[in-house]
Symmetry: C2
Subunit: 234 residues, 2 copies
């Protein structure tokens, strides 16, 4: 298998433009490719598929890559078969997964990516690269027919991973507590992916990349930090 | 209908003992009642049903109320029919809702409470008092057969409601953003219930109570604050 994948924690760093910090990553991932399909189904803030696609298209236009929204094709499965690459934007993972399952596209997209077409995800778009979406931070605003996702990597992701903020007396669960609760039910490892970091898959090799270490959670063990540049062998 | 219900944001305030701040509320809600059923299915941190029930029993023992875990009955539906009152503890709302639906108890519990048996919920236990669980903050660590809950009140709850923390550059969605995303899909009003606050239902009257105002979200309108003591007519 010749996988070529980037799964990023976030699309946007604080104070920066959309996808700005990922520009070198995008250039390398989509090298030689002049058009991709954008999957807009996560609809951050309820933005329309058209508006969300226009936002992505604007950022990719600066890199000479044309973007077409998956929602614009009358036969989206055929469009995925014919596509040269993919970007799935962030937003609400429940919305995204519901659409992909209901349109029968989850497996189609998985096959295309496993056959070597480059894929980039950000946030919700990275969650669906994991085995299931059950370590998302998102609110269950719709009911998907299944929580299973593409399993492009042999673990789950928790994008926007955040450490407890010192001095905050709020009694809601911390992110670490939530992921440990997940491990009372499932044994899938979880990569807590801090903002500014991403996972890079090239064939059989999976590495942590970016500006911050990841926090790695495996069932029954203490969590640990993994520095950028390290292989991700869970 | 003679409803008698407390839906609290949290079981525990920072630095306090379990249920401590709710002691006067519990005394009034369960006045004249010497035993209740505890619903332990939300299992915070993966705690066992037995251990969680022991924790609740310890707090209620000081008030002279005996607590029995719903999981200990061979016929839990019959136990609910015969019970004098209920407390559902916090934890993971997906776990709680899955158990209640799979055991066929959601409607049984709803009927018992609507017929006047006192009910207290905390956090996840309050979420199930709403129309559905789709404004929970919890991670979807299991897949419930439905997101529908008891609808004891004509709106949804968001327990542990928290305002954006000034100066934090994290790009994950704020709670307000998530609830607004919910309103791109559904029109059910949402009560953002801050810690230290609860909803009190007495018959047809629903009021906000506690130490902090609630934040009220209705589809298509600006959110607003509602002071303790105010009627909740959404």
């Amino acid at each position: 298998m010749n996988k070529n994948i980037v799964l990023a924690s976030t699309s946007t760093l604080f104070g920066e433009a959309y996808l700005q910090y990922l520009t070198p990553v995008i250039k390398e991932l989509f090298e030689g490719i002049d058009e991709i399909i954008f999957v807009p189904f996560a609809r951050p803030g309820g933005i329309s598929h058209d508006d969300y696609t226009a936002k992505a298209a604007g950022a990719f236009a600066e890199l000479g890559i044309k973007v077409t929204g998956l929602h614009t094709f009358s036969d989206p499965a055929a469009a995925i078969h014919q596509a040269k690459g993919f970007f799935t934007g962030g937003g609400n993972t429940f919305l995204l997964v519901k659409q992909l399952h209901e349109q029968g596209l989850m497996q189609v997209l998985k096959n295309a990516v496993e056959n070597g077409k480059p894929y980039m995800g950000a946030s919700a778009g990275s969650n669906i690269g994991g085995i299931n979406m059950q370590t998302t931070n998102d609110m269950p605003i719709v009911y998907p027919p299944s929580f299973d996702t593409m399993g492009l990597v042999p673990f789950n992701l928790n994008p926007h991973y955040i450490d407890p903020i010192p001095g905050v007396a709020h009694m809601g669960e911390t992110r670490e507590t939530r992921i440990k609760e997940f491990h009372t039910q499932q044994t899938i490892p979880v990569v807590g992916l801090r903002e500014g970091s991403w996972i890079r898959v090239k064939g059989r090799h999976i590495t942590m990349e970016g500006s911050q270490p990841a926090k790695i959670f495996t069932a029954g063990n203490a969590a640990y930090e993994l520095e950028p540049g390290s292989p991700l062998n869970l």
